[in-house]
């Protein structure tokens, strides 16, 4: 008698803080239900098992080493679906800040005269995973939103096409009823940043740092109303967009 095989999920982690994995681990309420629908075969942080047979691979972290390039390509070969899990993976995230300097200098700064002593200290300029392999779906954010993770996973399990967001954070921000931070003399990259986070950083008193990356076409998709009101252009805001995802918006 053959039992229906459960879809196999695998989680992989490259250069990052592993915070996005923790968002996944924090689905305390949903975890038992999810576990009845899938089999998790790789999750180094939480379990002993390791396997090369899986359907959906969630990849967290940026690529900064030759070894990671090799492993990533292998994941692409093994998986039916590859999902970029979080900013580090989907745009390069904060790790791109390192690319502002030559790698030799970066390494020397940390390891000093020992910089060449070990292969373990080697580093490449930061890349998002889709600069190396083809990616099927993206979960943006630093960290990802739990709601989006659960929605995407459910859609994939049901064989539905997951929704993607391409409106600017300002739209979410207005819905959340926030006062625009430009009125408090602060600056914000919300007008050109891809929403889906309910503008949580503005709601909690800070600014939008742009962690979810740019909307598809900043020049046409930006939040015109906010820009106009504060005498800004998408380009001017984009120049400020230097904390996240500089790997993809600029040559570096």
């Amino acid at each position: 008698m053959e039992k229906k095989e459960l879809p196999r999920l695998a989680f992989f982690s490259f250069t990052c803080c592993e915070g996005c994995q923790l968002v996944v681990l924090s689905c305390e309420d949903e975890l038992p239900d999810i576990l009845s629908l899938v089999k998790i075969v790789n999750f180094r942080e939480a379990m002993d098992q390791k396997s090369d047979v899986y359907d959906i691979a969630f990849v967290e972290g940026s690529i900064t080493k030759a070894e990671e390039v090799r492993k990533l390509k292998k994941i692409r070969k093994n998986a039916r679906v590859v999902v970029a899990l979080g900013a580090c993976s989907s745009t390069g995230g904060l790790n791109c800040l390192k690319n502002r300097w030559p790698m030799e200098e970066v390494k020397k700064e940390v390891y000093g005269k020992d910089a060449l002593r070990s292969e373990l200290f080697a580093t490449l300029p930061t890349r998002a995973i889709d600069e190396i392999i083809q990616v099927d779906y993206y979960l943006h954010g630093c960290p990802i939103s739990k709601k989006e993770f659960l929605n995407l996973t459910t859609s994939l399990l049901l064989g539905k096409r997951p929704d993607t967001t391409n409106h600017p954070v300002c739209v979410d921000c207005k819905m959340a009823g926030n006062t625009c931070v430009f009125e408090k003399d602060m600056t914000c990259v919300g007008p050109i940043t891809r929403a889906g986070c309910d503008a949580i950083c503005v709601t909690y008193g800070a600014i939008c740092w742009g962690c979810r990356g740019l909307v598809d076409n900043p020049n046409t998709d930006a939040h015109a109303e906010t820009l106009k009101r504060h005498g800004l252009t998408a380009d001017a805001v984009m120049r400020k967009f230097s904390l996240y995802g500089t790997c993809k918006t600029r040559k570096c």
Binding site: G19, L22, L35, R44, M47, D48, L97, V106, L120
Partner: protein, 428 residues
């Protein structure tokens, strides 16, 4: 007894980050023994250089998802000490509450998700849901509560939003604080359940005398505040940590090792050893029930020490909430910088003392940054332990030795992703 043994554990599971254990014994002598740290280094120093001071805490908290509040706190303290900013009483209480929340988050994650499977002889928390449903559910509930504390204060349970230079930019509502208070007061039962379980699983007898360093605070158990002290009887100011703690490069580790005059350990056990008397009443009672007396030189007891700190953090979180409710939390503007220069920020992260040091120029840009991570400070101690522990095990089957060795490394709760995000730049 075995004369030869060769163990290579590739990518130790159920630890934070990527590491290998390599052990080679020939003719009963250890030829090679190392904890290889293979995590990719991230070069935060280069990431931070030239950025504005009020981006620093946001960038630095991404060193580690597990101890993001600790990195944020150390970062804010360094910024505020460099720029002569004094935060309000309310802001300090809110930051402490988030801090206790993270201590709980991290210890509970470690004890229930990473250690418990070892003790129950399974590979992850998943089978525990079937074999030990009550305990596994307790773990999930305690974890959710700890997440909730961080989310109420910080806006999100991972990577806090509202902790900002000059204060805290979000004010929780009394209703939310009361909800947390109630849940915290009801959470001791869950901790008791874990304590009973740990008591039923006596730890490996293994003792190695060494130095313990942790922060010592005047009025209370050193976690969020305090100056470093050593069990060897000396203390030092955060500003002079580079004189006492020396970092050095080893080839098999992307994270640097650290030493004082010799090997030292940081973390829950170090804190308990140095500040036991300042623990909260329930924490002391829990230590007594677990028959943990200080000083203790058994690294396996770090797990119990973490549980004892869960009691402490829960009681302290309740008392912070009471103070906040009494004051009636209200929105406050952040305090503005008044100066620039060098600043130091030190806290007890869940895994031990965490140092941040920045140099900020008059335009408010970060010129230099240094950061010493708890796990990096423990790597030498872990290897020392393994070196004396492995010979004691040689009579056992290889698989059992491998499991025991992994359990020892795991008892330190190493945060490898954190430890490789090293920056060490000497100030000219």
């Amino acid at each position: 007894m075995k004369k030869n043994l060769n163990i290579k554990i590739h990518e130790i599971t159920r630890v934070e980050g990527h590491g290998n254990i390599v052990i080679d014994v020939k003719n009963g002598k250890i030829k090679e023994l190392k904890l290889e740290i293979i995590e990719s280094p991230r070069f935060f120093e280069a990431m931070l250089r030239g950025r504005r001071y009020d981006e620093a805490q946001h960038i630095m908290s991404r060193i580690c998802g597990i101890c993001a509040v600790s990195h944020t706190s150390a970062s804010l303290k360094a910024i505020e000490s460099a720029m002569d900013i004094k935060i309000s009483k309310q802001a300090e209480l809110l930051r402490k509450l988030a801090f206790y929340g993270e201590t709980l988050q991290s210890h509970i994650l470690h004890l229930f998700f990473l250690v418990l499977p070892d003790l129950a002889g399974v590979g992850s928390i998943v089978p525990l849901l079937a074999s030990h449903p009550e305990l596994a559910r307790t773990g999930l509930e305690l974890k959710r509560l700890a997440n909730d504390i961080c989310a109420v204060v910080g806006g999100r349970h991972i990577q806090p939003i509202s902790l900002f230079p000059g204060g805290v930019v979000h004010t929780p509502k009394p209703k939310e604080l009361k909800r947390l208070r109630e849940a915290l007061a009801g959470s001791f039962e869950g901790l008791d359940r874990m304590l009973a379980f740990l008591n039923d699983h006596p730890v490996q007898e293994f003792n190695l005398k060494r130095e313990y360093i942790s922060l010592k605070d005047r009025g209370e158990y050193g976690l969020y505040n305090g100056d470093p002290v050593s069990s060897n009887g000396y203390a030092f100011k955060p500003e002079s940590y580079t004189k006492k703690i020396k970092e050095y490069v080893v080839e098999h580790s992307a994270a640097k090792h650290a030493r004082t005059k010799g090997t030292f350990m940081v973390g829950a056990l170090a804190r308990l050893n140095n500040s036991f008397r300042q623990l909260s009443p329930r924490a002391k009672a829990a230590a007594k029930k677990a028959k943990l007396t200080v000083p203790s030189y058994n690294p396996f007891l770090n797990n119990i020490a973490q549980l004892v700190e869960c009691y402490h953090s829960t009681e302290k979180a309740i008392s912070v909430i009471d103070k906040l409710l009494l004051m009636g939390p209200k929105p406050e503007p952040v305090k503005k910088p008044k100066a620039w220069g060098r600043g130091f920020g030190v806290v007890e992260a869940p895994r031990g003392t965490l140092y941040h040091e920045y140099k900020i120029n008059k335009n408010g840009l970060i010129e230099k940054a240094v950061c010493i991570i708890p796990t990096a400070q423990n790597l030498r101690s872990i290897e020392d332990d393994l070196r004396s522990f492995v010979p004691e095990l040689l009579g056992r089957p290889k698989a059992e030795i491998a499991r025991a060795v992994e359990a020892l490394v795991r008892a330190y709760d190493p945060c490898i992703s954190c430890s490789t995000h090293i920056m060490d730049v000497k100030f000219a």
